[in-house]
Amino acid sequence: MQHWKTTNGLPPAQGLYDPANEHDACGMGFIASIRGDKSHQIIEQGIQVLINLTHRGACGCDPETGDGAGVLIQIPHKFFVRECEALGITLPEPGEYAVGMTFLPVEQHPRLNCEGVFERIIREEGLTVLGWRDTPVNGDAIGRVARASQPYIQQIFVGRPSEMDEDAFERKLYIVRKLAEKEISESDIEDKEFFYIPSLSCRTIVYKGLLLAPQIANFYGDLSDPDAVSALCLVHQRFSTNTFPSWKLAHPYRYIAHNGEINTLKGNVAWMHARQSILESPLFGDDINKIFPVIDPHGSDSASFDNAVELLFQAGRSLPHVMAMLIPEAWAGNPHIKPETFVPADMLLPTTISW
């Protein structure tokens, strides 16, 4: 199957086909330790959940290639310290550095080009580049079609300046990612469509790809290492309406994994664009202009939703607050709503922008 040179890995519009009509659905789940105790068992169990949801995914013309699967976990500090030591990188304390999971072009020249742009932007934004790690992957663990479209997968380690707190660091990382995405997609770097950052955070990391659920632990060796520990593991198995290989459209995204479809997407994206000129936040200051467009025009409905979640979260809302704003509970004519236990859309209206 052809690898399409488009930003989302789907064919360009042709004939009556338009990639904007693609849908996906899935199985998903998470395992968490309520007390926040990290263990390797949580990741193992998460992957087990994923495997038991395999029937909710689908495979296309190559039975070994799935529609995509992935996991989101907390950054396994001990594991990365050990791995980085071997590479001569000294990692600071947890929270003082971020890991960026990065998909890159396979060819060396464009890859170095992308890495260079990414590093430059990190420095320009006042952060430090600690180093890169080749993510060990096992190409034999995946299908033929997946292998043919597989990007080069690296992890970048980014240091936090001492005067910056963790929330501000996360916000900076968000800005860095938005700037890098924009600059590289507008550049003339060859194979630039491979470039994609599944996650860039000092808290969480996403391992995903064009995989079938049972393949993920074999493909990403990191996940099987006993030192890889987390207190949560969010998993997702995708079922898409096409057989086009796309590594990027696998979930989880940086904040969400999603099952279903957002049918008002065109409106949501347009409205978000339409309000950009009035967005203001003391947390961002002038940096707010660096994150536009808020919604990546090439993303799927779930990816666009993740973009909206990220904006609101980085602007200082709690995750539950963000979800209440974006997915207000249907309420009109509902006799169960009592103001003290429920926030009707009217009340949250100032900021409700339902998707």
Partner: protein, 1136 residues
């Protein structure tokens, strides 16, 4: 937390609680605080973040609070005719749309679909609205029922400036709240003069000089946009775009165009959220018009000519019962609002706020420049007209409006869009074509059949369809006609449309079946079930059984026996006449036979829900396909979709979900009764949907494993050949076979007054039915013969060689129609460049994965029972990967023993663990499956006489009645049998139950929705919207919290009563006792042990319609259970 239960094995004794995440609720694990935070607590915390309530009362305003306007536009009888004409009103608009809405407060209904030209091919000037088609949800997203689930729907609109969403201030609440988007003239004047805070309105004229044509229209649009942009900068927050002031010089800019121009510009300038756009226009008059205006960003609409027309009609005494204009306007607004909710719900959208600006439309026949300039983001795939034609259409209407009006000329244009009219819009099936067709078939005269097809095919005078613009290429070497496969092979590819017995008469339905069985084609049951006496062949060899059994959302009569008596099982995701909508068969049409076939009660109304409640997403469809395939492994599974943009990607998903056939249905629709706006404005022609499907399947290399069928007013051999070249292997016909049997297109199918005995149940009218199987057979053989002639000319020996040969199609040359010449078919005729090994038609079978199912072991273990009716017992461990357990065994029972099944408890099977989806689906009579553990969604789907018991593991620590044991959508479409669940069920328990008896200890939202028969006992708490649309059967609720009447139950169609009658008391007691015996339920034991105190807390849910047919008088007051008091009569009842 996961999509399914049982994805990780956890020892039962370690489970503290089991639950489900309800819609709109949050489940928060806070690892920092080290606890789970409840939805209630989250919402409470959020609500108390700021004094939102106070902010609202201080800042939000409503229309009532605004001062009465000094002056309101009055209606002007002297100019109304001219203005109606200028806005393109026809006689039909008044008589068939506006009048009925005023009279009945709802949208008018029609039937027999549509066969008029697309707007871009019509000779008549069209409203711009007619160049758009509504999108609708199918497969990947469920449509909503806006009536029965009104609680989630809302038309509320907020007008004003949106503030920075990253901040929260009292000013964010400074908005004007409108209860719905339709403004009367008085409402509009209030807004025009509003001055509260920064709410300030400006009116911008949306007119252009008619004489200046395209240039005038373009500069008027530029001017309007410029003024809008400036108004925003000047601080205006309400922009009223107004076309008042039409006169002999000025014509209205099409209201949608004016709106779109302004909306698009302000989105680009990133200032759109600072203002609300309000439309004051004479143009909008039907639901589609309002839906489009809102969908492209309008906040409110004042349809002043529609209102004046009503006043005019009322003044002239044309409205029924001397209705006043005030009442008429009120009804009109109500009808529009209802229609809007229905339009939103088709797309699965529940609120106006979400719908506004969502652009869920596809343009058909607008060119790229126009779309890019004003409707950016909307798909328009066949090019079409531009600003010049729109200006021309406005000029034509304007010219007609302001020509000198003579005495003889006081009428509107006739229209003729809904019914054939002389001088009206062209119809493919008109009196001439109908009579030609009928004569040729009755006289078996191929020559006059060719005259009929010539009239349809040669549309050079009257372009009507996309295929009329196509040309079949010559160029290949012809083959002799006798080398082309015989007609008797070709007719096997033909099917007749899904018309239920109920929508058409028994005679018509059986005639179609006999005809299709004789020629080896396939007829379709439609969604009304089928009489079992039709399953065997008649003495004369005829077979009245329909080869295709449809499985639609209501699952009427879908029993295991129905499923095994089919060659094909068709899942109807949507219907051409009204995609995204449900249906309703009123009680007076449900006679004894229809009620029996649909497992209901004569006289009780029947509702088809808009979605299949077991399909909200593509993996759910895969599950239903798996369920059906298990029940009848020999049948092929087909999925019926309706053409719309994106249908190709959905079809690819359907192929990946292992369907054997996908049917791409056109928009034109058949006998189904449907709102006129749905017939006209939802869905697109099959040519587009089929071509997209073929292209997308090819690009994914999925075409090789699925057959493609198409339908939608196919009428001639040429139509079939074009469909084959575009990618179809099979062809469906509905309208023309009806015409062959005598239909004369009266379009009154929904009124039960069909004078030729086809679309009626009236015994007298049915006697007039004169159709014969031979008529249908002659028709299909004539078609096949024509197909053969084309094939010979084209050099194809077999139909398979022709499928997908889109390279053999070309554009009809020399089309010089003023509108059609802009149409560009290249996207339809696109042939994706692919290597030859990518098959263009179906060459392989789907792998349904049936080899691995547990049922093979069940069947092996049941040999003695299946063959000799000897009792057997088995037990198995079970996991979530074991899906649809019991269905294949049940299919086997039905095949051998029919719907009677086996004697009770012949096959007893015990399971331990977490069962996968569709546990005990279609379970047949004679089988009892007992599960110790829990189960996922769809337990007992389509239960057909079997018994299913689920209870928690003996080692469990939790209280069963507080924890989930079974998933969502349990017992969906169950027709008979018993179910006992010790524990709580998810959402939508026993929806569309038509005969099963169930006991459960708690249910989620929407339980017993659309139930028409059967019995449900809930021994615990209920979610919201219980019994919505329930028209038959009984439910008994143990009202644990005492809030059932006030908060849980939807009282629109049921009465609530005390359980006092000895019959009721005994029934409940017996079933609770049985529940205890089968599950060991603590809840049941507790109730039985304290029966006298507990009994008064039971409520009987008794549907109105059911009462009416039983002859029971309606209760006036809803029963609210008292605190338990041991009443002497209850004790008596218990012991008596």
């Amino acid at each position: 937390m996961a999509s399914e239960a049982g994805v990780l094995s956890v020892a039962p004794e370690k489970v503290k609680r089991k639950g489900r995440l309800q819609p709109g609720k949050m489940f928060l694990v806070d690892t920092a605080e080290g606890r789970i935070i409840s939805d209630k607590e989250i919402k409470k915390r959020l609500a108390s973040r700021q004094p939102y309530g106070e902010w609202l009362t201080q800042n939000q305003i409503t229309l009532d609070q605004l001062p009465e306007p000094v002056r309101v536009h009055a209606s002007d009888h002297a100019t109304i005719l001219a203005r109606q004409r200028a806005f393109g009103y026809t006689d039909e608009d008044l008589k068939m749309i506006i009048e009925p809405m005023a009279a009945w407060g709802q949208e008018p209904i029609g039937s027999m679909g549509t066969d008029t030209p697309l707007a871009c091919l019509s000779d008549k000037p069209q409203p711009l609205f007619n160049y758009f088609k509504q999108l609708f949800a199918q497969v990947t997203n469920p449509p909503i029922d806006p009536i029965r689930e009104e609680m989630v729907m809302s038309l509320i609109s907020y007008i004003g400036t949106e503030r920075n969403i990253l901040d929260e201030t009292p000013e964010n609440c400074h908005t004007l709240k409108l209860p719905h988007p339709i403004l009367t003239n008085r409402d509009l004047e209030k807004l025009r003069r509003v001055s509260r805070g920064d709410l300030l309105a400006i009116t911008l004229p949306a007119l252009f000089r008619a004489a200046d044509g395209e240039a005038g229209l373009r500069s008027a649009l530029d001017e309007l946009s410029k003024r809008a942009s400036l108004a925003v900068k000047s601080g205006y927050t309400l922009l009223i775009l107004s076309d008042r002031g039409v006169d002999k010089d000025y014509a209205p800019i099409p209201s949608l165009l004016a709106l779109a121009a302004v909306h698009n510009l302000l989105v680009r300038e990133e200032t759109r959220t600072l203002v609300a756009l309000i439309i004051e226009s004479g143009e909008p008059r039907e639901v589609m018009h309002f839906a489009l205006l809102i969908g492209y960003g309008a906040s409110a609409i004042n349809p002043y000519v529609a209102i004046e027309s009503l006043e005019d009609l009322a003044g002239r005494g044309y409205l029924p019962g001397n209705m006043t204009s005030d009442v008429a306007v009120k009804h009109f607004i109500k009808a529009i609002n209802k229609g809007l909710l229905k339009t939103f719900s088709k797309m699965g959208i529940s609120t106006l706020q979400s719908y506004r600006g969502a652009q869920v439309f596809e343009a058909i026949g607008l060119n790229e420049d126009l779309v890019n300039a004003y409707f950016a983001g909307t798909s328009s795939r066949i090019g079409g007209v531009g600003l010049a034609v729109l200006a021309r259409e406005a000029q034509l209407k304007h010219g007609f409006a302001f020509q000198p009006i003579t005495e003889a000329d006081t009428e509107l244009a006739v229209g003729g869009s809904y019914h054939f009219r002389v001088n009206g819009e062209y119809h493919l099936l008109n009196p001439l074509t109908i009579s030609k067709l009928q004569h040729s078939i009755r006289d078996q005269n191929f020559k006059s059949f060719e005259e009929y097809t010539a009239l349809i095919d040669q549309q050079s005078q009257n372009l009507a369809t996309l295929r009329s613009l196509m040309k079949i290429k010559k160029g290949r070497k012809p083959v002799p006609l006798d080398q082309v496969e015989p007609a008797k092979e070709i007719v096997k590819r033909f099917t007749t449309g899904a018309m239920s017995f109920g929508s058409i008469s028994k005679e018509a339905h059986e005639t179609l079946a006999i005809a299709m069985n004789r020629i080896g084609g396939k007829s379709n049951t439609g969604e009304g079930g089928e009489d079992e006496e039709r399953y065997g062949k008649d003495a004369n060899g005829d077979w009245r059984r329909s080869a295709i059994k449809q499985v639609a959302s209501a699952r009427f009569g879908v029993t295991t026996n129905y499923l095994v008596n089919a060659e094909e099982l068709q899942i109807k995701m949507a219907q051409g006449a009204k995609p995204g909508e449900g249906g309703q068969l009123p009680g007076d049409k449900v006679d004894d036979v229809i009620a029996r076939l649909r497992h209901s009660i004569p006289g009780v109304g029947l509702i088809s829900p808009p979605p299949h409640h077991d399909i909200y997403s593509i993996e759910d469809l895969a599950q239903l396909i798996f369920d059906l395939k298990n029940t009848n492994p020999q049948a092929r599974i087909s999925v019926k979709l309706v053409s719309e943009i994106g249908v190709g990607t959905v079809a690819a998903g359907v192929a990946k979900a292992h369907a054997d056939v996908v049917l791409i249905s056109g928009d034109s629709g058949g006998t189904g009764a449907s709102p006129l706006s749905s017939i006209k404005h939802a869905g697109i022609p099959w040519e587009l949907g089929l071509a997209e499907t073929q292209q997308v399947l090819l690009m994914n290399d999925l075409r090789s494993r699925i057959r493609v069928q198409t339908d939608g007013k196919l009428q001639t051999g040429r139509d079939v050949v074009i469909a084959a070249l575009l990618g179809a292997e099979e062809f469906g016909f509905a309208t023309t076979p009806l015409v062959a049997m005598g239909c004369i297109m009266l379009r009154k199918c929904h009124l039960n007054t069909c004078s030729v005995g086809i679309a009626t149940q009236d015994p007298e009218l049915r006697k007039k039915f004169a159709g014969k199987p031979e008529h249908v057979i002659n028709y299909f053989f004539f078609i096949a013969e024509q197909v053969r002639q084309f094939m010979a000319e084209l050099g194809f020996r077999k139909v398979d060689e022709m499928v997908g040969r889109v390279d053999m199609l070309d554009v009809q040359p020399a089309i010089n129609h003023w509108k059609a010449r802009g149409v560009d078919l290249s996207a339809i005729l696109y042939n994706p460049p692919l290597p030859g090994r990518v098959a263009r038609h179906c060459v392989q079978k789907q792998d349904h994965g049936l080899d691995a199912v547990l049922d093979h072991e069940l069947i092996a273990g049941s040999k003695a029972a299946l063959e000799n009716r000897e009792p057997v017992e088995m037990s198995f461990p079970i996991r979530n990967v074991h899906r649809t357990v019991g269905a294949m065994l049940s299919g086997e029972i039905a095949r051998r023993h029919g719907s009677d099944g086996l004697p009770d408890d012949t096959i007893r099977i015990k399971f331990e663990g977490s069962a996968g989806q569709s546990f005990s689906a279609f379970l047949a009579k004679g089988v009892t499956m007992t599960l110790e553990g829990d189960a996922n969604d769809y337990v007992g789907k389509g239960l057909s006489g079997g018994r299913v018991v689920v209870h928690p593991p003996k080692k469990s620590q939790f209280a069963a009645e507080e924890n989930i044991v079974i998933g969502n959508v349990v017992l969906y479409g169950a027709t008979s049998g018993e179910a006992f669940f010790s524990g709580v069920a998810g959402e939508r328990f026993a929806v569309r139950n038509s005969g099963a008896t169930a006991v459960v200890e708690g249910v989620g939202d929407h339980a017993c929705e659309y139930m028409t028969n059967g019995l449900v006992i809930v021994l615990g708490s209920c979610g919201r919207n219980f019994a919505a649309g329930m028209s038959g059967g009984i439910a008994y609720i143990f009202d644990e919290r005492g809030d059932f009447t006030e908060k849980r139950c939807n009282l629109a169609s049921v009465d609530l009563e005390a359980v006092i009658e000895p019959r009721d008391v005994e029934l409940v007691h017996t079933l609770v006792r049985r529940h205890f015996d089968l599950t060991g339920s603590n809840r049941a034991r507790n109730i039985l042990d304290n029966w006298i105190e507990m009994l008064p807390r039971f409520i009987k849910v008794f549907p109105h319609e059911f009462k009416r047919v039983l002859g029971v008088t309606r209760t006036r007051q809803q029963y609210i259970p008292c605190q338990p008091l041991p009443l002497p009569e209850l004790v008596e009842a218990l012991h008596g």
